[in-house]
């Protein structure tokens, strides 16, 4: 029964009386429940931050969902115009704060492109290792947390515990657990500490073991499968025009990974890795793809560690960084999807304009379409499976 075109209040009484008679006559009559507006967030544990969803409900079913964002808007595109290039590293660390290192890379690449300098091979390899480590850290949190959203508490503890090993590695190399601020235009601040590579190798074993655990604990769990299979299906033809990218799109069967398919960046052209896709496009397949990608990242890290070249970690750069006039678009495959910076320089010490294309913004913009017609409990699993970071939406 449609409730959107409900009768006006004046005739409500009459309708009620009529309905009661009808109910007497027919046992199976639907109750006229009327729409309910539910405010999910901005303070809600399932929104991972301050995402607010205004959900219109008919009983347990969502009629329409309108995400309200901007609670964490910090105006980074404006702020970049008031900063020098080295200072901007600090800002962009905080866009997607779970994988800060991966955020730095495209911006540094853009500045380096415009200046015509290239990071030395050793720096490129270390950047690749740290980018993949931040991907692993981000995904380990997801792998645990997604279980939590369907009521499984154990995977969350495992996820946080194993992520800590990876964060320790990042901290040992860069000095910061979350905000490494480690990239410099032309290379890196420091070389890797003594013994780090051996430590990293053993941690990758922990990560691969953790993935096996998650596969048994979560993917093999009947309740998890029941709650995620066939839920929140994004067809590839719908996801792409919305700008859904990364693992979310690969879980819809789109074989597209910027590490392989974009203009070559970092050490990826030298590496041998697989791009994982899943044909279903539901919440389950998004989990499945991220699980495989975590494993693949661990393999990429091990490959990099085997092939890491010796040499300097900084190219020769001037003391005061002035970027020649020009513009460039640099995109990378970040844990959450396509991250890109369109940097326009006018030859000053800071950029003239930076367009920050963050993954979560577009990934979440599909929610009004995706949540239409689903049940309230599934809203939570769909939100969790899309995996967004509020800083990455609001910037």
């Amino acid at each position: 029964m449609s409730t959107t075109d409900a009768a006006p209040p004046s005739s409500f009484q009459v309708d009620r009386a009529a309905m009661r008679h009808l109910a007497d006559a027919q046992v199976n009559v639907e109750l006229d429940t009327g729409d309910m507006i539910l405010n999910l967030g901005p303070q809600h544990p399932a929104t991972h931050g301050t995402l607010r969803l205004v959900v219109r409900l008919d009983g347990e079913r969502v009629i329409s969902a309108d995400p309200v964002i901007g609670y964490m808007h910090r105006g980074y595109e404006k702020l970049t115009e008031f900063r020098t290039y080295p200072q901007i590293t600090t800002l962009i660390n905080r866009i997607d704060w779970l994988s800060s290192f991966a955020n730095e890379v495209p911006f540094m690449t853009a500045a380096e492109q415009l200046m015509g300098i290239e990071a030395p091979p050793r720096a490129t390899y270390i950047r690749t290792v740290l980018t993949e480590l931040s991907r692993i850290a981000t995904f380990l949190l997801f792998l645990g947390e997604m279980g939590l959203q369907v009521g499984a508490l154990t995977p969350a503890f495992y996820g946080f515990r194993d992520r800590e090993y990876v964060l320790n590695l990042i901290e040992a190399a860069t000095g910061g657990r979350f905000h490494p601020n480690f990239n410099r235009i032309g290379g890196l601040k420091d070389d890797l500490p003594w013994g780090w590579i051996a430590e990293c190798r053993s941690t990758m074993k922990i990560v691969l073991d953790a993935c096996d655990d998650f596969e048994d604990l979560v993917l093999g769990n009947e309740i998890f499968r029941a709650r995620t299979r066939g839920i929140g299906i994004i067809p590839a033809a719908t996801g792409a025009p919305y700008g859904v990218s990364g693992s979310n799109l690969r879980a819809s069967g789109v074989d597209w990974d910027l590490r392989r398919d974009a203009r070559p960046y970092l050490a990826y052209p030298d590496l041998d890795f697989q791009v994982w896709t899943h044909p279903d496009g539901d919440s389950y397949s998004r989990y499945w793809v991220r699980l495989q990608e975590t494993r693949e990242s661990a393999r990429i890290v091990l490959q990099c560690l085997d092939g890491i070249p010796a040499g300097p970690i900084m190219a020769k750069v001037p003391r005061i960084i002035k970027v020649p006039a020009g513009e460039t678009w640099v995109e990378t495959e970040n844990p959450l999807g396509q991250m890109g910076y369109y940097v326009i320089s006018k030859g000053a010490t800071g950029p003239f304009r930076v367009k920050i294309r963050s993954a979560s913004f577009s990934n979440v913009s599909i929610l009004p379409w995706l949540l239409r017609g689903v049940y309230v409990p599934d809203v939570i699993t769909i939100l969790a499976s899309l995996y967004f970071i509020l800083g990455d939406i609001d910037r």
């Binding site: 900063r83 597209w256 203009r263 070559p264 460039t328 369109y342 800071g350």
Partner: protein, 227 residues
């Protein structure tokens, strides 16, 4: 599978003229008309095409249907006018980088102050294209892409509130990030960064002379020129 990525990347790195870009341009020229394409540029392997305002809506359809660019990366705007720098004589906000005072336009040029630009990509053959169009300064307005790329919805709302550029045919141009009573368009260059107006940058207090004297001297003179 492992062999494929390296081959694809190697192809991509070939120097210009890029046959893929030539093909893209030919398709655009055929579908939009030769007059619709005002200028084109290739920067670091990225093709930028500047088209007329009238052909903006049609360009989205061509990009999706004929160039198979099914993926919308972003839509945003550019304000090419240099930011006014009041207070330069009093030392001003020297912590922010000094931009040149004359108006210059980026790759593929511009007819005026405001431009809208968008980046579309193909998930199947990995074609990518940046489209730019000039919008009128007095009443900036451009056709909406929502009908072609539903993801344009939020990007256009953001561009509308940040630059004041309206998108004709957009279902609901509402504020996205900012509160609904917000006045002004923050990403326009004449919109001041209020935090810096209210209180000078604290870093100014303990500023030391940079060891590289010629650089600071040059920055100071160019700052004075703008005042």
């Amino acid at each position: 599978m492992p062999d494929e990525p390296t081959a694809a990347i190697g192809e991509d790195a070939l120097p210009e003229p890029n046959p893929e870009h030539e093909e893209t341009l030919a398709i655009l020229r055929d579908s939009l008309g030769a007059d619709a394409i005002l200028d084109q540029a290739e920067v670091f392997g990225n093709l930028i095409v500047r088209i007329t305002l009238a052909s903006w809506a049609r360009a989205a359809e061509v990009a999706r249907d004929q160039l198979h660019c099914d993926y919308l990366s972003f839509i945003s705007g550019i304000d090419w006018q240099p930011a006014p720098r009041e207070g330069d004589d009093a030392g001003g906000d020297t912590s922010s980088p000094v931009q040149p005072t004359e108006t210059t336009y980026g790759a593929a040029g511009s007819a005026g102050r405001f431009q809208v630009f968008a980046h579309v990509q193909s998930t199947s053959d990995h074609r990518a294209l940046t489209l730019k169009t000039d919008v009128d300064e007095a009443s900036p307005s451009v056709a909406s892409w929502v009908a072609v790329y539903p993801g344009a919805d939020w990007h256009e709302r953001e561009c509308w509130e940040m630059f004041g550029i309206t998108f004709d045919g957009h279902p609901a141009l509402r504020h996205l990030y900012l509160p609904s009573a917000f006045e002004g368009h923050p990403l326009r260059k004449d919109f001041p960064l209020l935090a810096r107006v209210v209180k000078p940058w604290p870093g100014l207090v303990d500023v030391e002379a940079m060891p590289d004297v010629p650089e600071t001297a040059e920055a100071a003179t160019s700052g004075e020129a703008s005042a």
